[in-house]
Symmetry: C2
Subunit: 338 residues, 2 copies
């Protein structure tokens, strides 16, 4: 195969929690790049960030000239992505965006690298990326999809009930700081979360969809439903999601009850998951153990006896890594390793 | 109504975590008693415990003479209860037992005070307590039953999926100490729990039923299933339970997906729960807020769209209080307030 020129990379949102992991992974995975630029908001512009022993000055993303950038990996929030991603894509880059801005756009592939890379089209021919933008799923959804896809392929997913145990780093540096401050002093007031998060469980991640609280779903719960349907290509999949924040630094957990069209035993599920890319079958998956690990851990694989073809499983993944930064870089790698 | 003599009370397991709350509640609720005795294992015998400004010397429960005791409240573990409860009942006391020893015995009522006091028989006539033993449910089950019963009465519970968020005090002083030690020093090794519990989530409470891990249910999950069926008198209720320990001191949470025979909207559920004894409808129930509160908090009441008549709800209760000590004392009060 002819060796192509390594791409020029830009990381937009390089100073954030996910941006930090992106920089680490681009280095540790020896991502083949010709040039790398770090960008962030005006507030962080001018700051210097380490890169392979040298320092790179952070640029103001809004003022930056993106010409020559081949792949821009965004983790800078939905508003920035909504405004900036089309501009950067027009300048010729492929944008891989970690925000929610583009995920449900019909012309934007929503990709989990191990699960649905086919939605990128024929990558040999540059892929079929209409808007020049590829969306990285929500961190909770991402962790769930890695084991659910192979089980769905085997037995056809029909219905899903999920309760989550989500880490504070899903809310960035501010979330982690709030947890740590409250561990030091429980009276440190909640700002990021709706109640004290240290030594507590808060059954609400993000805002409610509507102003009401009775019967209202959160945005996070809607993301989990909508993105699961899009990624697994089951447009009407019935989903009931309860998204809960726990006093964990990093590592999102999902307690999943999945009903399938066809019979699938826990033993068959283990066999399938043992072969599945990106999955590690564990006795006791847990967030501490999942930190800085690429694979998604799955355990407690049991029969759900309440439905004809049901499985209960417990899934844990590093929300910053596979849940965000790693998957974005794996998508970029799909365009390199060809 | 003729005033009867206040009973003589014994608390067996008075030095434990639940025993401590029992002593507090007997005092703060002005439980009408003539005499109170505190008992524990030989190890704790001789220790002095505060009682309304005086000190009571802890007796060795195995050596104690129970004659004259009217009500003995046990929270001393299943082995002690299995051996000692029949002896104490033979001596003429009503035993209210917080262990798992007698819960599934067909001749032992398993009582949540607000839910199924009728299983005690006609209390005016001394009740129908064949073995002289009344069982207090498992702390997780207890918290769930308080709101589920009135919803079941309205719409007939048909199927249940539960994922829990259980506090470390469910494992007694040792559980709390392990959490606190690991908050100070994360390398403090797990002994009570199967993995680090500070800043973590461990998807296993107690031992597996069988030696296997694939497909195995835990004892805690089986308790939740079996006790729910017995308390709600739905012998074949399909239940899928995933019991998970979280880094919370006190306050068990349950994410419940309940399917009913008949239609029930979130609005109707809120209306029913607002009237239900022992239930507090909250915007955002959480363990910190539930601590030292009698009522069980319920919130996030939504439609479960994956089944015809489904509700999703989040339930939180103080596992030491309503989950254990309070309910035991409420049962004792049923024999007083007549």
């Amino acid at each position: 195969m002819a060796k192509k020129k390594s791409p020029n990379i830009a990381v937009v949102g390089a100073t954030g929690k996910v941006g930090e992991v992106m920089r680490e992974l681009l280095a540790s995975r020896n991502f083949p790049l010709s040039d790398i630029r770090f960008m962030a908001s005006a507030r962080s512009a001018g700051k210097e960030l380490e890169w392979n022993g040298t320092k790179i000055v952070v640029e103001d993303a809004k003022e930056a000239d993106f010409s020559g950038v081949d792949i821009a990996i965004f983790s800078a929030g939905a508003t920035t992505s909504r405004n900036l991603a089309p501009v950067v894509a027009s300048a010729g880059a492929i944008v891989i965006d970690n925000s929610s801005a583009w995920r449900m756009d019909d012309e934007v592939p929503l990709v989990v690298a191990e699960v649905n890379p086919h939605t990128l089209g024929d990558i040999e021919k540059g892929g079929d990326i209409k808007k020049g933008i590829i969306a990285n799923p929500n961190c909770t959804t991402m962790v769930g999809m890695v084991p659910l896809k192979p089980l769905h392929q085997k037995a056809t997913l029909k219905r899903m009930v999920v309760s989550t145990y989500q880490a504070v780093s899903g809310a960035g540096y501010a979330g982690v700081e709030e947890l740590m401050a409250q561990i030091e002093d429980a009276s440190s007031p909640p700002k990021v979360f709706d109640a004290q998060i240290a030594l507590n469980v808060v059954p609400k991640c993000g805002d409610y969809l509507e102003g009401e609280t009775i019967g209202a779903e959160t945005i996070e719960e809607k993301k989990l439903t909508d993105e699961t349907r899009k990624i697994l290509e089951i447009p009407d999949l019935p989903v009931s999601a309860t998204c809960v924040r726990v006093g964990v630094d990093t590592g999102h957990s999902l307690s999943i009850n999945a009903e399938f069209e066809n019979a699938i035993s826990p033993e068959e599920a283990v066999e399938i998951l043992n072969q599945a890319p990106g999955v590690v079958v564990e006795d006791l998956p847990n967030p501490i153990q999942s930190q800085n690990v690429d694979g998604v851990s799955v355990g407690r694989i049991r029969k759900d006896p309440t439905v004809p073809n049901g499985l209960a499983l417990f899934v844990v993944g590093d929300n910053l890594r596979k849940g965000a930064a790693l998957n974005a870089i794996q998508i970029a790698e799909l365009f390199i390793n060809r």
